[in-house]
């Protein structure tokens, strides 16, 4: 098997060498690993994430810092062990220098711990957005250029409690680290603004039947905060429509992602008008954002992508772009365990499609956030319309770091909100 692969690689390398002028490849080939969920509940977001990497690589013509970049894909199913297995193959067998990924929350927590055992490799997070990946006990070679779950909710709690005037909500969330983080980011400011969480439901990731939850939903609430992603969200929304649910919904960031609002059937009807918040908004009129949308649309045929990039594509694009800019910035200097590259990345100020991004001392992104509402676009597609753009929000949501850490790790019961 290995022999066949090597031969194919050789073939590919020779044909590339013949096709391209020799100038770009002074330093030879650099292997870049990409890890996303191409299986399981997040398979569709995973494909969009891979599109993000490929768009960035195509844009750079697969060269950076004098290297020819060779991109190696790997897949997981959103479980930590699958992600580790895939990462081990990329790092230890394929010997990638830099790994971009993973996609999902608990994978990121595992990846951070794995990164500590591989000091020679630089890890750049994809879209995995659990809080403790960078907040507590971070890995020195793990970078996250995309904000995380709690930051993604910034601005929403106040908006719901004050502008919408909804003071009582029930919540439904997937029972794992990322959704706990999103819940925390929504509930903390919401409760501070006088809102109340009446009841919270936590369902296992990959739940298909929501009948029991829909029938147990309290009727005396103003809205339901819905923290489901991928196939879970589509399943819930279809069943919620069929059950005749009318209580307005508030979406977690991935609940109103392109991967869901472009789905066919009744799910999309249930989402119209849903308020949410996230690291990007489809209708944001900004030169950098429009440029990214154009790049995304130009990089893939219309039937192999979403109408506009989802937050997974954007997250992976920004992370890969940061890597490419970093390699160019240090002219491909990867000596001494990527020392120069890591210093460059830590100090980077990136002019990204969603505004400027900088990193804090734990190598976690600080960026603006968008409060959005799902609306019908001019061509009949649903889009996330900008309601409000927040100031750049850091991982402690503007609070003092020590006080924020004292709130404890995210979980089902944090915050209590009584």
């Amino acid at each position: 098997m290995v022999k066949i692969r090597n031969r194919l690689l050789l073939l590919a390398a020779t044909s590339l060498a013949l096709a391209l002028p020799a100038t770009a490849q002074d330093k030879g080939t650099l292997k870049i690993g990409g890890l996303a969920t191409l299986e399981g509940v997040f398979a569709v977001p995973g494909q969009d994430g891979m599109r993000g990497i490929e768009a960035a690589l195509k844009e750079a013509n697969y060269t950076a810092g004098g290297y020819k970049l060779e991109f190696i894909k790997a897949s997981s199913d959103a479980s930590p062990d699958k992600a580790l297995q895939a990462a081990r193959k990329l790092v230890e067998q394929d010997k990638v220098a830099i790994l971009v990924g993973p996609l999902s929350g608990s994978e990121g927590l595992a990846m951070k711990d794995y990164a500590k055992t591989q000091p020679g490799t630089t890890f750049i997070n994809g879209t995995s957005a659990a809080q403790d990946t960078t907040l507590r006990d971070p890995a020195p070679n793990f970078y996250r250029f995309w904000t995380e779950g709690a930051q993604w909710m910034a601005g929403l709690g106040e908006y719901i409690a004050k502008d919408k005037g909804w003071k009582r909500v029930a919540t439904i969330g997937e029972d794992y680290s990322f959704m706990h983080t999103q819940f925390f980011g929504f509930a903390l400011p919401y409760c501070n603004a006088g809102g109340k969480i009446v009841q919270r439901f936590w369902v296992p990731l990959g739940t298909k039947d929501y009948a029991s939850i829909i029938s147990a939903l309290p009727s005396n609430v103003d809205a339901i905060w819905l923290g489901l992603g991928g196939g879970d969200a589509v399943n819930f929304l279809n069943q919620y429509q069929q059950a005749g649910g009318t209580t307005p919904l508030i979406g977690a960031s991935i609940t109103v992602d392109q991967s869901i609002i472009t789905s066919k059937g009744r799910a999309r009807d249930a989402l119209k008008g849903t308020a949410s918040a996230g690291p990007q908004a489809d209708t944001w009129d900004n030169a950098n954002w429009n440029k990214w949308v154009k790049l995304y649309q130009a990089s893939f045929p219309a039937d192999q992508r979403f109408p506009t990039p989802g937050l997974f594509a954007t997250g992976y694009y920004i992370s890969t772009k940061a890597m490419i800019d970093g390699l160019n910035g240090v002219k491909g200097d990867l000596t001494d365990n990527h020392k120069a590259l890591r210093a460059w990345l830590s100090a980077a100020k990136i002019d990204s499609p969603v505004g400027p991004i900088t990193l804090d001392e734990n190598r976690q992104a600080i960026a603006v956030n968008f409060v959005t509402e799902v609306a019908e676009g001019p061509d009949g597609n649903l889009v996330n319309k900008v309601v409000k753009v927040t100031e750049p929000v850091n991982q402690t949501l503007g609070m003092d770091r020590a006080k924020f850490l004292a709130l404890g790790p995210v979980g089902r019961e944090n915050p209590k909100c009584e």
């Binding site: 894909k73 479980s79 990731l205």
Partner: protein
């Protein structure tokens, strides 16, 4: 399918004949052993660790299933659950990345983890022996599913969906046992030990009685064997092997989460045992090696043909082809090949 006392004796004689057959096979054992011993000189660290050490761990879990299914006639889908319990206990009793471990020393952690897992295996056995055939599969599947969902939703003990990271072997005698070379030899030693133990037990009085029970439980009961006790003891013995494998698996992965004891991986263990063959203890290890190779390299294989996203297709097709051409696994294929060779030799 009628087994008389006389035939049971023939069975014992067959055991002797098998020993003779083994001594004929000795060169094969020698070559395989030598190859496995010098393997680190032939392959890289990744292949050594992520293919061979992993195969040995998975092979041990599948071996425990092979023992139950092949000699006891009980197909249990809960063997990975038992391994998972041992793994979880190592994370909980010892130290892990979340800082919730009890921090006991390794020489208390390992026996305690094995004891809990074997106790659980015995319990499963006590429950499952009241059933037979497809019902045993069902009840063990239910237990496996129940444990998976419990671990996934229980945060106080099992830390829910995240599970535990940074569960590493102790650094004994100045050796980092997680490094590919020491870890490979460690798993190789224990895999060989379990393999030999299964072979030995299969030829012991207990093992022969178990095979008698597999073939005709009623007759064995009539001639005075305690069928239930034999079956429960078989479950406990298989549980011991699975528990040891579980400890290696948690060290191999550097952690454990519900995904490692889920429904899919439990079926994978059955697939490993079936494609390897469940008539001889070497089968599970062959199956595990094929499984590890396919699940690691399928993505590279399909790359130029159907795109990396569809790599699961090649895994499925691989297993289908094996089962299609040899319903009794790779071992069956080997046996048939040998028989054909013997026939052609006779003809000549």
């Amino acid at each position: 399918m009628s087994v008389t006392l006389g035939e049971a004796v023939t069975g014992a004689a067959r055991g002797e004949k098998r020993t003779a057959w083994l001594s004929w096979l000795n060169p094969a054992y020698l070559i395989a052993g030598l190859l496995l011993l010098v393997l680190p000189a032939l392959v890289g660290d990744f292949v050594l660790f992520s293919i061979f050490a992993w195969s040995l761990c998975l092979g041990m879990v599948a071996l425990s299933l092979m023992f139950l299914a092949g000699y006891g006639g009980m197909v249990s889908l809960a063997q990975l659950t038992i391994a998972g319990i041992a793994g979880y206990m190592v994370a909980i009793f010892g130290t892990n990345g979340t800082g919730t471990g009890l921090g006991w020393p390794w020489w208390t952690v390992l026996p305690a983890a094995i004891a809990v897992a074997v106790a659980f295996a015995t319990l499963i056995g006590a429950l499952a022996v009241r059933t037979a055939g497809i019902y045993t599969i069902m009840i063990t599947m239910a237990i496996a599913a129940a444990f998976f969902y419990f671990a996934r939703q229980n945060y106080p003990i099992f830390n829910g969906y995240n599970g535990f990271n940074l569960v590493l072997p102790p650094k004994l005698f100045g050796v980092d046992w997680r490094q590919p070379l020491p870890f490979y030899y460690l798993t190789l030693a224990f895999a060989t030990l379990s393999y030999a133990a299964v072979l030995y037990v299969s030829r012991s009085t207990f093992g022969l009685a178990l095979q008698g029970i597999r073939d005709n439980a009623r007759r064995m009961e009539a001639i005075g064997f305690n069928v239930v006790a034999h079956r429960i003891a078989a479950n406990a013995f298989a549980g011991l092997i699975a528990a040891v494998a579980g400890i290696f698996l948690v060290w191999f992965n550097g952690g454990i989460s519900p995904g490692s004891v889920g429904f899919g991986p439990a079926i994978d263990i059955l697939v490993i045992a079936i494609i390897g063959g469940i008539r001889h203890p070497i089968g599970p290890f062959i199956g595990a090696l094929i499984y590890a190779l396919l699940s690691t390299f399928a993505m590279d294989l399909v790359d130029p043909i159907i795109g990396r996203e569809r790599f699961k297709l090649i895994i499925g097709i691989g297993f289908l082809v094996i089962v299609l051409f040899s319903p009794d696994g790779i071992l069956g294929l080997w046996d048939r090949l040998r028989a054909r060779m013997a026939v052609s030799r006779d003809c000549a």
